[in-house]
């Protein structure tokens, strides 16, 4: 069993911004342990000398010309907004600062 604790899952849920009840944390901890146990076998085969592949088909230097394309009106931008004010998206108070 992978050493994933309930506290670990709580931390991950916080990083992922998903509120979870005690029961959910408990269940997730168990499931995650099983999954991680079975996927961590990848470490056995991943030797130091093997390069990582981040993109399945190798392309490089795909660039766009610096030209201006279409834009949305404020109305279009805000069409799906849960809340808006003065042409801007409205959100509840922010506690953390970046």
């Amino acid at each position: 069993m992978a050493d994933i604790s309930r506290a670990d899952v709580e931390h991950l849920a916080k990083l992922a911004h998903i509120s979870m009840s005690e029961a959910e944390l408990e269940k997730m901890t168990g499931e995650l342990g099983v999954i991680v146990d079975s996927v961590k076998t990848v470490q056995e085969a991943a030797g130091e000398d093997i390069p990582a592949t981040s993109h399945p088909v190798a392309l490089t230097n795909v660039f766009r010309e610096d030209v201006i394309g279409h834009t949305y009106t404020a109305e279009e931008s805000l069409a799906n907004a849960p809340d808006a004010e003065d042409g801007r998206f409205k959100v509840p108070a922010i506690l953390d600062e970046e």
């Binding site: 991950l12 099983v34 996927v39 085969a45 093997i50 592949t53 279009e76 907004a81 506690l95």
Partner: protein
């Protein structure tokens, strides 16, 4: 509503046949589209393959095509070969004017202000869009049971799942609700439902079809592809949606290969077909699946193909690598659903109203269990201190799998395996066991990790349920899988006609809940 015999005949045609009849003026697109809408109305209460049906829009496009055809001249000449043939779109692909939900409550009611590139191409070619098909939420699943809007049922046996994530598209095509559909394949979401419903489905080479407008699950694995009842139809649709797109940086610069030509040649004499040792036997493979697989090999051998065995030892780690890379990328791609700009916003039931808590409550209520599981798993795999061991190692496995494929393709023109180890399983059978569900994708995942093309083609029935065979080819050699799949289709009785005569008549069945 009951369907007339005439319209029933119409919907059982292949897309290529429908297109030919439209061109010849024997049928109109409005009649063809209406026949499918009638069928949808008749079987949807049973199947739930569609999340949204856009009858009006589809009929408008159909009428436009008919008008151009009747007028004749250059405009009619310029019509795309598939113009007027209706299509269904997996609800993971964004469409203007129709809702796109990804089968998630978090996107309920969202209207995209833009069309996916593939949808632009379909509109340009004037294929009437019948609606949006059901899927596992954000394409995360192998059974379509993880849709927030209820599961889709398998038209071969409504007690069984149609596969996933693209169970809606596969079931719709199998049940004659649509001759063509679009799917997306991240680890098998086109091919595995294909196997379970007897449909043909292709995962193109990574970059072969633009991903612009396909709601991302795992960016380095996702590809849009065709879902149809015949190999030729798949090739026709693939050629329409494929090609370079400047809006997708990972889009290949090369033009689409000549896939329809490949699908129309059935000669496999002298071709080398490699059986992947790791995907042909072993625990978990049902006897009925292995029997159908072996019959297919016999048929190919008799037709002059040389069957060789290839060894891909790294495939043992493919599932592990996939279930690290996919959730890692998905956890990032799904971070944007936070209730700030679009979609559902859920306020916390108690405590102070801050944006952090609103985001937490929104994502808690908006995402289903499987989505949350993968987000947490991905967050774990990318977090400080674990990156090298998990995500980093998985990326190295990807290299090894590519090397295994490179070596295998030195010995064979195409590779072959069963698409899934089993036939369609019963609803609810695996929902409580995530690992058992994940194991379904064992044969389809390596192609996504390596970026190569793969196709599912039906290979008969086992106890009345379809079995699928998968062909794989090197990257950018999509034509090879069409060629091989068309050959097998022909050898097994031609365009799947044999199996389609055996599908139950759904219009008379009812859901037994």
């Amino acid at each position: 509503m009951t369907t007339t015999p005439h319209s029933t005949d119409l919907i059982r045609l292949t897309a290529a046949e429908m297109a030919a009849k439209l061109r010849a003026g024997e049928i109109t697109s409005v009649d063809l589209t209406q026949a499918h809408l009638d069928r949808i109305e008749a079987v949807e209460p049973t199947l739930n393959a569609f999340l949204h049906v856009s009858a009006e829009e589809a009929l408008t496009t159909a009428a436009e095509v008919d008008k151009i055809r009747v007028a004749g001249g250059a405009e009619a000449e310029k019509l795309h070969p598939l113009a007027g043939v209706p299509i269904a779109i997996k609800d993971l692909i964004v469409t203007k004017g129709q809702p796109t939900t990804a089968a998630s409550k978090i996107l309920e009611g969202w209207m995209s202000p833009y069309d996916a590139t593939v949808v632009e191409k379909i509109r340009e070619a004037k294929l009437p869009i019948l609606g949006k098909t059901n899927l596992d939420e954000f394409a995360m699943g192998s059974s379509t049971e993880h849709s927030a809007f209820g599961p889709t049922r398998n038209p071969w046996d409504i007690e069984r799942i149609p596969g996933g994530s693209g169970g809606g598209s596969a079931a719709a095509v199998a049940a004659f609700e649509a001759p063509l559909a679009l799917g997306t394949d991240t680890g098998g979401s086109i091919r595995e439902p294909g196997a379970f419903t007897g449909t043909v489905g292709t995962k193109p080479t990574y970059g072969g079809v633009s991903r612009y407008g396909a709601i991302a699950m795992a960016s380095s694995l996702d590809q849009i592809g065709p879902v149809t009842r015949t190999v030729e139809d798949a090739a026709l649709l693939h050629e329409l949606i494929g090609g370079h797109d400047p809006k997708d940086s990972t889009s290949l610069p090369e033009p689409v290969p000549a896939l329809v030509d490949a699908a129309r040649t059935h000669d496999v004499a002298g071709k080398k077909i490699g059986v992947i040792k790791q995907l042909a036997t072993g625990e978990g493979y049902q006897q009925g699946v292995l029997d159908a697989f072996n019959s297919s090999l016999d048929a190919l051998r008799e037709a002059g193909a040389e069957i060789v065995e290839v060894d891909c030892p790294s495939f043992d780690y493919a599932l592990g690598a996939y279930y690290l890379i996919m959730p890692s990328e998905a956890s990032s791609n799904l971070a944007r659903y936070d209730g700030v700009r679009y979609g559902t916003r859920v306020l916390p039931e108690e405590g102070p109203l801050t944006i952090e808590r609103v985001m937490g409550a929104t994502r808690a209520a908006g995402f289903g269990e499987e989505v949350k599981r993968r987000i947490i798993l991905g967050t774990y795999a990318l977090s400080a201190g674990y990156y090298d061991a998990y995500y980093g190692s998985a990326q190295k496995i990807r290299t090894l799998i590519q090397r295994d494929f490179d070596a295998a393709f030195e010995q064979a023109d195409v590779l072959i395996s069963p698409t899934a180890p089993t036939v369609a399983f019963k609803m609810g059978e695996k929902t409580d066991d995530p690992m058992a569900m994940y194991l379904n994708d064992i044969a389809t995942i390596p192609a996504n990790l390596a970026g190569i093309p793969g196709i599912n083609v039906p290979a008969g029935l086992s106890d009345g349920l379809p079995v699928g065979i998968q062909f794989l080819a090197p990257a950018k050699e999509d034509a090879r899988v069409y060629h091989a799949a068309a050959a097998l289709e022909e050898l097994l009785g031609g365009k799947g006609e044999v199996i389609w005569q055996q599908i139950p008549d759904l219009a008379s069945s009812s859901v037994d809940v």
